[in-house]
Each structure stands twice: as structure tokens, then as C-alpha cells.
Symmetry: C2
Subunit: 456 residues, 2 copies
Amino acid sequence: MTIAQALDALAARLGDRLGRSPSDLALHGANEAHFPAMPPDAVAYPQDTAEVAAIVGICAAHGCPVVAWGAGTSLEGHALPVKGGVTVDFSRMNRLIEVRPEDMLAVVQPGLTREALNTDLRATGLFFPVDPGANASLGGMAATRASGTTAVRYGTMRDNVLALEVVLADGRVIRTGSAARKSSSGYDLTGLFVGSEGTLGLITELTLRLQGQPEAVASAVCGFAEMAAAVETVIATIQSGIPMARIEFLDRAATAAVNAYSQAGLPEQPHLLVEFHGSDAAVAEQSARFGEIAADLGGEDFRWATRPEERNALWKMRHNAYYACLALRPGARAIITDVCVPISALAAAVEETAADIAASSIEGPILGHVGDGNFHAILLVDPGSASDHAEAARLAGRMAERALRLGGTVTGEHGIGMGKIPYMPAEHGAAWEVMGSLKAALDPQGILNPGKVVPQ
Amino acid sequence: MTIAQALDALAARLGDRLGRSPSDLALHGANEAHFPAMPPDAVAYPQDTAEVAAIVGICAAHGCPVVAWGAGTSLEGHALPVKGGVTVDFSRMNRLIEVRPEDMLAVVQPGLTREALNTDLRATGLFFPVDPGANASLGGMAATRASGTTAVRYGTMRDNVLALEVVLADGRVIRTGSAARKSSSGYDLTGLFVGSEGTLGLITELTLRLQGQPEAVASAVCGFAEMAAAVETVIATIQSGIPMARIEFLDRAATAAVNAYSQAGLPEQPHLLVEFHGSDAAVAEQSARFGEIAADLGGEDFRWATRPEERNALWKMRHNAYYACLALRPGARAIITDVCVPISALAAAVEETAADIAASSIEGPILGHVGDGNFHAILLVDPGSASDHAEAARLAGRMAERALRLGGTVTGEHGIGMGKIPYMPAEHGAAWEVMGSLKAALDPQGILNPGKVVPQ
Ligand SMILES: Cc1cc2nc3c(=O)[nH]c(=O)nc-3n(C[C@H](O)[C@H](O)[C@H](O)COP(=O)(O)OP(=O)(O)OC[C@H]3O[C@@H](n4cnc5c(N)ncnc54)[C@H](O)[C@@H]3O)c2cc1C
Ligand SMILES: Cc1cc2nc3c(=O)[nH]c(=O)nc-3n(C[C@H](O)[C@H](O)[C@H](O)COP(=O)(O)OP(=O)(O)OC[C@H]3O[C@@H](n4cnc5c(N)ncnc54)[C@H](O)[C@@H]3O)c2cc1C
């Protein structure tokens, strides 16, 4: 067996940093979403780039699959080893290598989490803005092209990764990009690896853009009697050019969920959660302009949070909203949707989705990063119920088709993994084959996270 | 001859839209910089995507090189047909297809120029910010990953192209990206084609992000006794987080050049040219903060331009600065450098470069988009002088090495073309081979702009 030979060679190289205990395998065969567990044959814990290169080299020699693992928080079964092989867990490569305040950048190992990075940055006056709800690893975030509540202002991982070190499928180590803010020096390899879900190479170092802590910050929660009014407020706000730092939507069901889970104490109606960053004067001006738009469209019951503790509580509540939704139905798992549409189509996309879910047999709170046109329905299923699964799949399929019909994408931020692969032909047409050609060029044996992203 | 067969088939398909007159060939064999002329065998003028696909299909069948041509303003001989073949001139595909104000985007054909687009957008309250000095085509700008004076605020073509239609080397037509503001749906093909200099596919349609016209705009010119003080002002300004819309540098020689060419009437000393965009209050606040930083570091003789005519004159002067530098030495041609370094290294990069040029036998005004760490020395050579060429090549080589030593790139915005290819191994190492593998995957015959970007 080729995998068995690879494991022997890896064990010789890594010693007890090749995990084979049942608990280790089970941990790395699980996922945050609803996919069946699927353990790898072993888990490698490299300590540095050279070791990653050695692992991949050994696996390449034996045709053994290699699947990267960051924090395991991805939502589409991205890191499930569908053909077995070795999972490379980056948790021991979690150092902040360097902060360069004068260039507003940080160099990190891939296993560092976003929260740990921001804790380390506290004294510098800088922060890293990209914030998926989970405390994900920066390598995993790059690999899924993650974003979060602040993408409307600061962009996604596409915009915030300047340079990478990558181990290729044959064990070669390359560097892409540089610490310069822009370049026209050839193909954008950094951009190619960002979002490639571990199928083109393993990221072993990242150079990240940082942002200055704003002088002033203000957050607010604002309720609406109708979902349509909340969505219209988002569209009008984005079109007005107010540089929102955050603008998030919770529908009535999601609001009920965060009330129950985080004692948010919000009236049970749709809400927008917003934040403004800038100088004192700029924040005051932006808040006032947003307040006018929202009030015009029926926003009510404004609650401002200017103290850091209040703001932290607000965004912690938002970041836990996924768990809050799951808790609505004890024992449930979630089929998570992640469409993103042009802002002009947001109202249609959200409202048709809500109507669909209302008419269905399952629950599905809606929430999202609406300033980017991105929202999720958290479709709750009883793991043992085939009819729940079928109904969720039907709703998710209709959402995906709707997003494509409206000129959008089936995944705004979570990525493809196992869950979104069926939609790739409809979304990309012949461009999906082109992705396959790129994969074949960089990983001809197909050992890197097989079964993901490209046509099989 | 394979090229001859391709030309017969193309003539049958295109009729008089296949140009073969000596003047047509000469025009498309010339370049803005110092490279020897090199005419193609024919020039095709397609009218739509289907025709581009047919042209490429015919060329693929006969192994005939295909070189895209936008406005021909690139500065490194990008579009020179070094292996002959057919130049595809996009000037008849220059329509603004659609403006979607509510999504702040425009869909354009590749031959539309940036100035024509902005003229068409005037009534919408929107504009397209990327502004290389020349009136380049949007297809060419995407292909070179161009930027300009506003990249410090609005980004480069990387950031402003949302979606593309591309004809591949085998004539297949694909669409990349979408009108949604973000996506995690697979490899970033849009980003791969942006900056690929016509070597991976021909761009036949672009979806571009637009920006709202700012409520208020203010521009200023500010002189400094010493170059070092001007550069320190840039670094301090960027690090302070003031959201500059533009911050441009002209050294003493470049200032003299724009005085002579554009009657700028500036004191003969180094200058910064700046602009602020925002609400009235924001512009006032930003201007004041910048004014303080500049004054602290020795900025003097501030001149504000708030009236649109004054501002237009200022930026027209800046956009013509390249021609102004050329005019310093009648009959001269330019070897243009385009380094970009991390902002912390800007002072070292500019000052060492200036000292090098001062100690050399040729002139080389320095100017650039310093807010990004990007600057150019326009090295003036007598086209007939081998010693001038050798001296310019030596200086350019030292600049490139210095940029790499300081962690930057040899080309911040112009691209590789013929001029920067020799530096690719030093800049990219093994990553350059990876670019070659991608090229081989998408263009196995090597018919698209052969001799460019990748290892030969
Ligand atoms: C409560 C909750 C809220 C969430 N909210 C958001 C959100 O708002 N926005 C968002 O974008 N996502 C969100 N997510 C999803 C998830 O957090 C992101 O997908 C995140 O980027 C995954 O990072 P990870 O470190 O957990 O990666 P993993 O799950 O470990 O891996 C994800 C993928 O990346 C690959 N990978 C990991 N590390 C590397 C590496 N070093 N090199 C190459 N490939 C690698 C893996 O092989 C896999 O394909 C949420 C998840 C949860 C549980
Ligand atoms: C005075 C002056 C100032 C300048 N200032 C700047 C500046 O500030 N910033 C900057 O970035 N550049 C600047 N440039 C350089 C130039 O304007 C840019 O490189 C511009 O992007 C080139 O566009 P073009 O339409 O002229 O392309 P071309 O010169 O026609 O072509 C450039 C490259 O793109 C390819 N190409 C063209 N169209 C397509 C297409 N549709 N599909 C695929 N490939 C295509 C060509 O094959 C070629 O490789 C300046 C040039 C001049 C003369």
C-alpha cells in the first residue's frame, strides 16, 4: 500500500509528531458541519517549513494524499481526507514571526489564529481586520479566502495577504509576492494560492497587511419592523458611499437565537448591527448619515455602543450567532448556505430566500455580511432525518440557483469544500475546467487535498 | 510557413479587417520606450468576442503567435511580436457595454480607454479611479496590472477588476468572477489574468468597480528644500493613516521638466503633489493633518487647488511628466525604471538611487507614486549612444537589485515586457518556474505573446 509506505517513512522522520491514536484520527476526521466523519490515516505535526517540505516530499514519492489542517473550523468539510492519507496539522507552527509597524504588516506562521494575532498586536496600535466567526488559523483563512464582518471596509483575505511561502506538491518551497504594497511582476501567485483550499500547495508563512486602530469607533444596533426595510437600508447605505466598517443583518429568527444564546435582549424583529471607524469627527458624521438613512426607511430603537466592553459584547454575540442558531434546535446540525449577490440584487435574494424557508418544513435563520451582498441561511436539520436533509438540500439548491441567476456566487466566503462542488459547473462553466488544468499543472499526481475544488 | 497559412485563413475570415499595410505593421511594431521596432506579420481588428475566438482558433491551428494590442502605451515593449505573427488590435472593441450605478460597476470592452470611460461616466456621479499617465485601454491596463496616482486610495487593476471574459489559447471563451463583491468559489482566475500581459488569454470584456465622485476634493502642491524631507513626509503621512487620495513625488529635475513642458511655475526643488477626497469636513480635517506633518518636516510654499480647472491642470501636468522628462533632452529615449519597495525602505531606495544618478554620466529625473512605495527614474539616453545605453542599464540594474534587497519588486506597475525579464529569477526564484508551469498548462503551444513573462 502506498499510504502505508508513506506512513513508515513519515514516522521515521517525525517520531511522535506523527499522530496515529484513534482520538487524534477522529479529531481530524470530524468537521463543523454536517458531513460524515472521515478520519485520515495519520496526523503530522510539523514544526517548520523544512519539515513540511519533507512530509510532502515523502507523500509525493508514495502517492499519498496530504490534507492541510488549520483550526478545523471550515464549514464545508474542506479538510476531510476523502482519499485517506496524512493530515498536516499546523498547530505547532503558530508563531508571530515579525511585526513591522512602519510597513503595517506582520509575518506569521499558518497555525497562528486570528485572535492570537490580534492579542499579540495590542500594544502596537495595529490590528488584523479579517474576522470569520470562529477563531480560525490564518493559514486556513487564506486557504478559504475567508472574510467576515469587516470585509465591507477592509476586504477579504484576498486583499490582506501580501506574500506567502508555499510548499508545492513536489516538496519545492516557493515565495510569492513581497512586502511592497503593489507589483506588476508576473502572475499573481499569492492570489492563486489564496482560496485554493490546500489543493495547490501548503502555506507555511504569510505576510499580512495590518490596519491602524481607528481613533474613534462607534457601534449600533437598530431594529426594523420588516426585513425588507432593513435590507433597503443596507443598499441605500452602501450606495451612499458611507465607509461602513461593519454592517450586519440578523433576521427575526436569528435575533431570537442570539437573545436566547447571548442574552442580547433585542426586540424580536430583524436587525442591523453597524460600526464606524475613523477620527472623532468622521465617526460622528458617518453615524449621523447612517442614522438618517435608517430612520427614513423605518429603523427604530437605535442602541449605541461606544464603550469597548459594550462593543466587544455586541460583536461576540454576532460571532456566536452560528452556535446560537444551532442551539435553537437541540441536537441539530446545519446545512450552511453562503450566497453573495450584487448589492442591487440583495433585496430579491434575501426576500425570496426567506419566503422559501417560511414555506418549508425546517427552520433556517438568515444572517450575514450584507454590506458585501453576502448572507447565510443556517438550515437546521435533525442529523438522523432524511427528509430534513432533503428539504435543506432543496432550499440550499434554490438559494444557489437564485444567487447565480442574480449574477452572484454560491459561496461568498466559506469556500467549496465538499458542499459546494456540485454547483461549480453552473457557476463557472468552462472556467472550471481551467481550474482543473491549473491543478494538474501544479499537482499532477493529485495528492493535495484530493476531491476538492476542481473537477475530478 | 505556418504563419503564412494562418494569415490566409484570417484574411478569408476578416476581409479588410486584417491589416497588412506597411504603415499598419510599423505602427504595431513600435513601442513607447527604447526597444527596437519589430513589426508583426499582420494586424487583426476584431469586432466582437466571437471574432477574437475565431482568430485565436485559426492561429492555434497553425501555431501562429497572437499578440494583443490595447493602446500601445506600455513601457517595456510588452506588445512587441518577438516571434512575428498576428497582432490583435482591440481598438474596434471599445464600447461601454453597461453601467450599473446601483452596483457601482461598469461592463466594458477591452479597447475602451480610461479617459473615454470617465467621460461616459460623467453624468452618473461615478468614476473609474485607475489612471496610468497615458490614455491606456482598459484591457491593456488589466493585462499589465496597471495603477497610477490614485492607487494609494483605490488600489490597482488587481483591486478594480471584478470579472472578465477571456479567450483562451485554444479559442475557448470563459468567464471569470462575477458582479458580486467577493467570492470564495475556487481559484481566483480573474486575478490570474490581470497582470498576465496577454500570455494566458485575450481579455474581451471587463467588469470594473466604480467609485462615487467624492463630495469634496482638495489638491495641493508643496515644495521641500531637500528630497529627504519630502520622502520623510510621505512615510509619516502613510503611517499616520490619513486616507490620501493621491501623494506623488517629483524630484528637482522632474520639477524643472514639468516647469518647462507644462509651465507649472514651481520653485526648482523637490515637490509633493497631494489630493484629498471625502466629505467637506473629512477633506478639511485630512488636509489640515497632512499640512501639519509636511510643515513639521520642512514643507513650504503650499499651493492649494480646490477649483476643478486648477486641479485638472495639476494632474494633467503630472500625467505628462514622462513626456516632460523626455523633452529635457531633445531626441532622447528613456530607459524607465519602476521599483516598488516597502514604505519603510522608501527613503533609502530614493536617496541611494538619486546619488547613483547624480554620480553617473546621464540624466534621470525621479518621480513616482510614493504613497505606494513606487517610483521611477526616467533614464535619458541618446538612442545612438552605446555608452548612454550601457550607463542606463547599469543604473537600472542597480535600482532593481536595490529594490529586491529592500524587500520590494522590480516593477510596481508597468510590468515585465522585454525590459524586466532578466530580473525575474532574482525576484521570484523557483516561483518563476511555477509561472512557467501555469503558462504551459493554459497555452501549451506558447502562441500567446511569446517571449514574455515566463522562462523561455
Ligand atoms: C462559528 C463559525 C463562524 C464562521 N464565520 C465565518 C465567517 O464569518 N467568514 C468566513 O469566511 N468563514 C467563517 N467560518 C468558517 C471558517 O472559520 C473559515 O472557513 C476559516 O477560514 C477556516 O480556517 P481554519 O483554520 O479553521 O481552516 P481548516 O478548517 O482547518 O481548513 C480549511 C481549508 O484550508 C486548508 N488549509 C488549512 N491550513 C492550510 C495551510 N496552511 N495551507 C494550505 N491549506 C490550508 C484545509 O486543507 C482546508 O481545505 C465560520 C466558522 C464557524 C465555525
Ligand atoms: C506617459 C505614460 C505614462 C504612464 N504612466 C503609467 C502609470 O502611471 N502607471 C502604469 O501602470 N502604467 C503607466 N504607463 C504605462 C501604460 O500606460 C500601461 O502599461 C497601460 O496599462 C498599457 O495599456 P495599453 O492599453 O496601452 O496596453 P498595450 O501597450 O497595448 O499592451 C500592454 C500589454 O497588455 C497586453 N494586452 C493589451 N490588451 C489586451 C487584452 N485585451 N487582453 C490581453 N492582453 C492585452 C498586450 O499584449 C501587452 O502585453 C504609462 C505610459 C506612458 C506612455
